[in-house]
């Protein structure tokens, strides 16, 4: 019984926490230079294809822009630093668009593989050609999250600072593991990234209102909150009676995240994640339910709903208001 009464408080705490943990302000972010970034990315592509041969560039590029068959993961960076320069790196990180960068946690299933990057059977995935220069030295591996779109810049900045004392990479993902994406042009990517995804807010809200047929507002009868936060556009949705996918008699909940990504080279995309899709059978004329939802994975109805939103956003991108000349 006491467990039941704690639920609402725990839920409130979970909602409040992510916003508490953020100390760094957006004004600290290094300015984005599309020209430089475009150039480094292209050089790296060429290096990968063994067309462009410059030892300096190979050091800067390997593993930075091309991580795996599926490209690089959004928002993750790994750096292995010699202990003598750890403090210097932390000082630099404070000025970079990094959300959180701490020594890798052996308890985390993904970070575990980077805890001992020099020992064991060869370098972890993506670190080939990077960690050799650190052999035999005392090192500290750091696992970090950057703001979306700034991964390559952070890696390049770390490599430029560290030279032989830092090995930094983006983390790769396997093929086919990607969420839904829209292609962006480089100027669109830059415009969306630099404005913290805010330019997408109006098109998304308009698309939501068209899809649900209701004004996008949070009331006692529904939730429709679209906020731009830390470079991502987040939408929390809860509608009665099948407004999202047409399940009559059900409340439907969805959580969406839109952010610019740069999975490899000069490929720019808008990622549209929908990590939460849930329904609850409950009469539509009752008070808004807060919990008791059953989550649905890979649901066709929600996929079609997202597809509709994406095509509306895509139309808005095409008319040239975002990142246009």
């Amino acid at each position: 019984m006491p467990d039941l009464s704690i639920r609402p408080f725990a839920a409130a705490l979970c909602l409040a926490l992510p916003s508490c943990g953020i100390a760094q302000s957006l004004s600290d972010i290094t300015p984005f230079d599309p020209a430089v970034m475009h150039r480094t990315a292209r050089y790296c592509e060429r290096h990968w294809n063994e067309i462009y041969d410059d030892p300096r560039l190979s050091e800067l590029c390997v593993g930075s822009f091309l991580c795996g068959d599926g490209g690089c993961e959004t928002g993750t960076v790994i750096a292995v630093v010699a202990r003598s320069r750890e403090e210097e790196m932390r000082t630099l990180l404070a000025r970079l668009p990094v959300e959180d960068m701490t020594p890798c946690d052996p308890g985390d299933p993904y970070e575990r593989q980077y805890v001992d990057p020099l020992g064991g059977d060869g370098a972890p995935f993506g670190f080939n050609g990077q960690t050799e220069k650190l052999e035999g030295r005392e090192v500290v591996p750091y696992c970090g999250k950057t703001l979306p779109g700034y991964e390559a810049d952070v890696v390049v900045a770390l490599r430029q600072m560290g030279g032989d004392d830092i090995a930094a990479i983006r983390r790769g993902i396997g093929a086919g593991a990607m969420p839904a994406q829209l292609r962006l042009t480089a100027p669109q990517f830059a415009a969306i990234r630099d404005a913290g995804a805010l330019p997408l807010r109006a098109p998304l809200v308009a698309a939501l209102e068209t899809a649900t047929g209701l004004p996008c507002e949070t009331t006692a009868r529904q939730t429709c909150a679209v906020t731009a936060e830390r470079g991502r556009l987040k939408a929390r949705l809860l509608f009665p009676d099948g407004a999202l996918t047409g399940r009559a008699g059900h409340w439907e909940e969805a959580y969406l995240e839109l952010y610019p990504t740069n999975p490899s080279g000069d490929l720019y995309e808008l990622s549209v994640d929908m990590p939460i899709t849930a329904i609850r059978r409950w009469p539509g004329d009752r008070r808004k339910p807060v919990d008791g939802f059953q989550s649905l994975d890979r649901d066709g109805g929600f996929a079609a709903f997202r597809q509709g939103l994406m095509s509306a956003v895509s139309d808005a991108l095409e008319d040239g208001r975002i990142g246009g000349e």
Partner: protein
Amino acid sequence: MYQRSARALFALLVVIVHVAFVSFCAVYLQSRITKIETYVSTIAVFLPVFGIYVGVVVKSVGLGKGPRGRKVSGLFLALMSILFVAYVAGNGFVLWSYETGFIGSEDLLPAAVSLVESAFGGFFTTLFLTLFGQGQDAERD
């Protein structure tokens, strides 16, 4: 004779209340439970106690003499009525909790219903059997 009719009336009342209640739950929960598995388990935990009442009454009525049994005191009947009310209130509380969100998840419903059913239902059923002479003593009446 009078006592026998009173017992018959009481037994029928209990059964009618139960049939009405379980039917109501089946309809009420149908529009409030997302997973069919949870719906079936929730209704299922109502049924054992429900089955005993109906079985006892139908069997007694089927003997052609109406329910019979030992003489019982007024205190016993009062106690039994109180337990019946508590049992109904317990189930009502579960439904009210679910409607107001105190029971937040439908996954808790089968457990909550079986809590009430096994506590009050078990207690009440024992007394019910005593009242209607399903014990061994009944044969000697």
